[in-house]
């Protein structure tokens, strides 16, 4: 038993398993560290660009914290630029995105929660055909129905309204959510319901009093899924929304890149502001998202 701190560190670090040699352990760590650097460095570069002062945006510097780091870009993105008399649309974009995506997610979760129960518990004519149809819709390219949807939305005079975008997003969101929730309902033992039915409860009571409370986590997953799906969507939004004041944030930050002098600094600052809460949420909930994936589409 040695108490030498260095050797203790080594023993702690080379925590043996299945007889890996120290050399192999170092190799594994090195591989993982390189992979992590590849995964994280491009993201950190966005932070770097957002911190650069406007006159040194174009540089071949590779440091993460740039020289003369400043928060000017953040100020400009959040509060606009008084000197150039430019307004900030940042909060408007966020609000547009949130209102569209939240409503889509709520609608699809409600629709799916109800119909997935029928798909999971009842045997009725047309059931498996319906399920296969829903799965097939996941194979349809997102862009494929976009043209007829676009014409339909235009004819309903819903271009440039959040309603048009809600309709367009619901197309992909509803079938996926039904599949996810059906997969989850299937894992809830039927015995619970049968006991309740024998005790005289109606199907509706069973659904609202047993199934829904038991599947709250799955409902949360389904909501998250459909929220994440619409949250950073660019291509459909670009077609449906053409007016500046209706822009969702992906369209919004793209305008930074389209101006004559590409405002990379502001683009980066806006990206960081948007990405931080969403990435935190995602990383925190990634375990549930993964279990949701194994429940629904990727099911062995």
């Amino acid at each position: 038993m040695t108490t030498n701190p260095i050797s203790r560190f080594f023993r702690w670090f080379f925590y043996r398993s299945r007889g890996d040699s120290p050399f192999k352990t170092i190799l594994i760590h090195a591989t993982l560290i390189i992979a992590c650097v590849i995964a994280v460095y491009p993201v950190l570069r966005v932070v770097t660009i957002s911190l650069r002062p406007n006159d040194t945006l174009l540089t071949t510097d590779l440091r993460i914290i740039p020289e003369n780091a400043t928060l000017d870009n953040y100020r400009e993105v959040l509060f606009g630029d008084a000197e150039k008399n430019r307004q900030s649309d940042f909060f408007l974009w966020i609000w547009n995105s949130v209102s569209v995506v939240a409503v889509t997610s709520v609608i699809s979760v409600i629709l799916a929660a109800i119909s997935a129960y029928a798909f999971s518990r009842f045997r009725f004519p047309g059931r498996s055909a319906g399920l296969i149809f829903l799965l097939t819709t996941q194979m349809i390219p997102a862009g494929m129905l976009l043209l007829p949807l676009f014409i339909m939305i235009a004819k309903l005079k819903m271009i440039n309204t959040p309603l048009g975008l809600i309709i367009a997003y619901a197309v992909t969101s509803v079938p996926l959510t039904i599949w996810t929730l059906k997969g989850y309902y299937d894992t809830i033992p039927v015995d619970l319901e049968e006991a309740a039915l024998i005790d005289g409860a109606s199907r509706l009571t069973v659904f609202t009093k047993i199934i829904l409370p038991l599947s709250t986590p799955a409902l949360a997953i389904a909501f998250l899924f459909s929220f994440m799906g619409g949250w950073s969507e660019y291509l459909v939004a670009r077609v449906v929304l053409q007016k500046n004041e209706m822009f969702t944030w992906p369209l919004g930050i793209f305008t930074f890149a389209q101006q004559f002098t590409v405002s990379w600094g502001q683009f980066a600052a806006a990206s960081v502001l948007i990405a931080i809460p969403i990435m935190a949420l995602f990383l925190y909930s990634s375990k549930w998202l993964i279990s949701g994936l194994t429940l629904g589409s990727v099911k062995g």
């Binding site: 702690w12 398993s17 299945r18 993982l32 992590c36 995964a39 491009p42 993201v43 071949t60 959040l78 606009g80 008399n85 430019r86 900030s88 649309d89 909060f91 408007l92 609608i107 629709l111 109800i114 119909s115 009842f122 009725f124 498996s128 399920l131 799965l135 097939t136 819709t137 996941q138 349809i140 390219p141 494929m144 129905l145 976009l146 043209l147 007829p148 949807l149 014409i151 339909m152 004819k155 959040p162 309603l163 809600i166 619901a170 509803v174 039904i178 894992t187 199907r203 997953i221 949250w231 950073s232 660019y234 670009r238 793209f254 809460p277 969403i278 549930w288 194994t294 990727v298 062995g300």
Partner: protein, 509 residues
């Protein structure tokens, strides 16, 4: 194996249930973030988000939801009475059937009206057209009379008229309700439950699909004002199909060129995703220090919103200031120095000189090959975390006992991987690969955001060409035919998958 899969799922359920309060906390914090940020807004100069905009939006969405709910309720009650009510006597039966037929007719008229409104069918001023417009016209007349009789203002007229309409229908339903007795139906509830989603799917998927088929046989384009003056015939369909295979798909590119590029795009991406994901998952599946940290960091490319990632990578492919060319430039400088220092050593010096001449900054934007490589790099970077997480989930559900038994029998690591890991991973891997193929095939936001398909559409894949044909070149009829062909390709792939995997059988039973 199945039971293990289930156990894995059940364990994660418990995890979920335990952590539900935390999810809610996070949700609360995120919403506070948004609320606070919009509170700061009025105090800064020239902000465009105001309480007025918020109020208007809430009203707009609220009334939209209200209308949807009302419509669904009316349809639900209709089917409820069909499934669960039995008329008391003969007269009641006649009245009930009459009301049901009338309601059915009304619904049918609305559907035809909707088709007419969105140009799926054109009725014009014919007798049928007038008949179809009748309910809506009477609705408009009701609104007008409400305004002229000062019962409602201009703003509220629509709502009041809607409520009157709905009440009228409810009265009819009440008649049925009071002249009938309850009845049992085995499948009725199931149909009632799937009805809302079914209507949604009908409206959102079936209808657009029908519309697309119709469009495919038209000459709709910007010149015909989309569908307004478009003409439909089989000839146009044939023409569209011919243009697709012999002409250009967007502006410059030909179909088969883009098709093979799509195959290449899909195969390369999925291969790298699976190999990279598998490698990382295997490394992460062993007892290791800092495992949690590695996992968190490695998931980041998946966590970052795609649009942001694509835009950020686009700037990194800049020819002078982008990360990739800086690194390549530095490597080139280093190689040049080394080749100068080793110039005297025959062979090595020449080798380094050759490397220095070959490796260097690349024109990512102008050179078609490197542009394609750049989008591949971006998509591979984005896609590996997802695959590795899925595969890691599968690996964790494999019991260690198999490996211990194999080790006792003297199996090498490769044999263990070949004979234990791969077969047991199949239930996870097969659907993941299939879905990965379909998703990658359809995924063009990366391409669109990074290269916009350029230079000269040399990085376009089928779906991005289609998007361009529709929304940049306004070739509507052609795009519809294009979409149908893409759908056919994917459909064949799906059938192939069904035959190979039998995966759907277990899911639908």
């Amino acid at each position: 194996m199945v039971s293990k899969q289930k156990r894995f799922i059940m364990e994660s359920d418990n995890f979920l249930r335990r952590n539900l309060p935390n999810i809610l906390w996070i949700a609360v914090i995120v919403s506070i973030y948004f609320v606070l940020s919009s509170l700061i807004a009025p105090f800064s100069d020239g902000i465009t988000l105001s309480s007025k905009i918020v109020g208007e939006r809430l009203q707009e969405i609220g009334s939209f939801l209200f209308a949807i709910l009302g419509g669904l309720a009316i349809i639900e009650i209709y089917f409820y009475q069909i499934f669960f009510r039995q008329p008391l006597n003969r007269t009641a039966t006649i009245i009930t059937r009459a009301i049901q037929v009338a309601m059915g007719l009304l619904t049918f008229t609305f559907i035809i009206y909707f088709f007419n409104l969105t140009d799926l069918i054109k009725l014009g001023d014919s007798a049928i057209g007038k008949f179809v417009n009748m309910p809506v016209d009477s609705f408009a007349n009701l609104q007008k009379s409400l305004i002229s009789s000062k019962v409602a203002t201009k703003d509220s007229a629509k709502m009041v008229a809607g409520i009157i309409f709905a009440l009228g229908i409810l009265v009819l339903y009440a008649i049925i309700q009071f002249t009938s007795k309850p009845r049992n139906s085995r499948v009725g509830l199931a149909y009632l439950l799937i009805m809302p989603a079914f209507i949604g799917v009908l409206f959102l998927i079936i209808y657009p699909f029908l519309f697309e088929i119709k469009l495919a046989f038209s000459n709709a384009s910007l010149g015909t004002q989309a569908t307004k003056n478009a003409q439909y015939s089989l000839l146009f369909g044939w023409e569209n199909l011919k243009t697709l295979f012999t002409g250009t798909v967007a502006k410059d590119a030909k179909f088969f060129e883009v098709f093979w590029r799509t195959i290449l795009w899909t195969v390369i991406n999925v291969t790298f995703h699976v190999l990279g994901g598998m490698g990382l998952a295997i490394l992460l599946n062993r007892p290791l220090k800092f495992k949690g940290l590695y996992r968190t960091l490695l998931v980041i490319p998946w966590a970052i919103p795609t649009t942001i990632a694509a835009m950020a990578l686009r700037s990194e492919f800049d020819s002078r200031y982008g990360l990739f060319n800086i690194l390549l430039g530095n490597l080139n400088t280093w190689l040049t120095t080394v080749s100068q220092n080793t110039a005297n050593i025959i062979g090595i010096g020449n080798g380094f000189a050759w490397l220095a001449a070959t490796i260097g900054p690349v024109s990512w934007k102008q050179d078609p090959f490197w542009a394609f490589v750049s989008v591949l790099i971006a998509n591979i970077w984005l896609g590996i975390p997802f695959m590795s997480v899925i595969i890691l989930g599968g690996l964790q559900s494999i019991s260690q006992e198999y490996y211990e038994a194999a080790e006792i029998d003297g199996a090498t690591r490769w044999q263990q991987f070949r004979n234990i890991t791969l077969p047991l991973l199949r239930p996870v891997l097969t659907p993941a690969i299939i879905l990965g193929v379909v998703w990658t095939f359809n995924k063009f936001d990366i391409i669109y955001l990074i290269t916009q398909g350029g230079p000269q559409e040399k990085t376009d894949i089928l779906v991005s060409s289609m998007y361009k044909a529709a929304f940049q070149f306004y070739r509507y009829g052609f795009t519809a035919m294009f979409a149908l062909v893409i759908f056919a390709i994917l459909f064949i792939f799906t059938l192939f998958y069904l035959r190979v995997s039998d995966g759907l059988k277990s899911a639908t039973e």
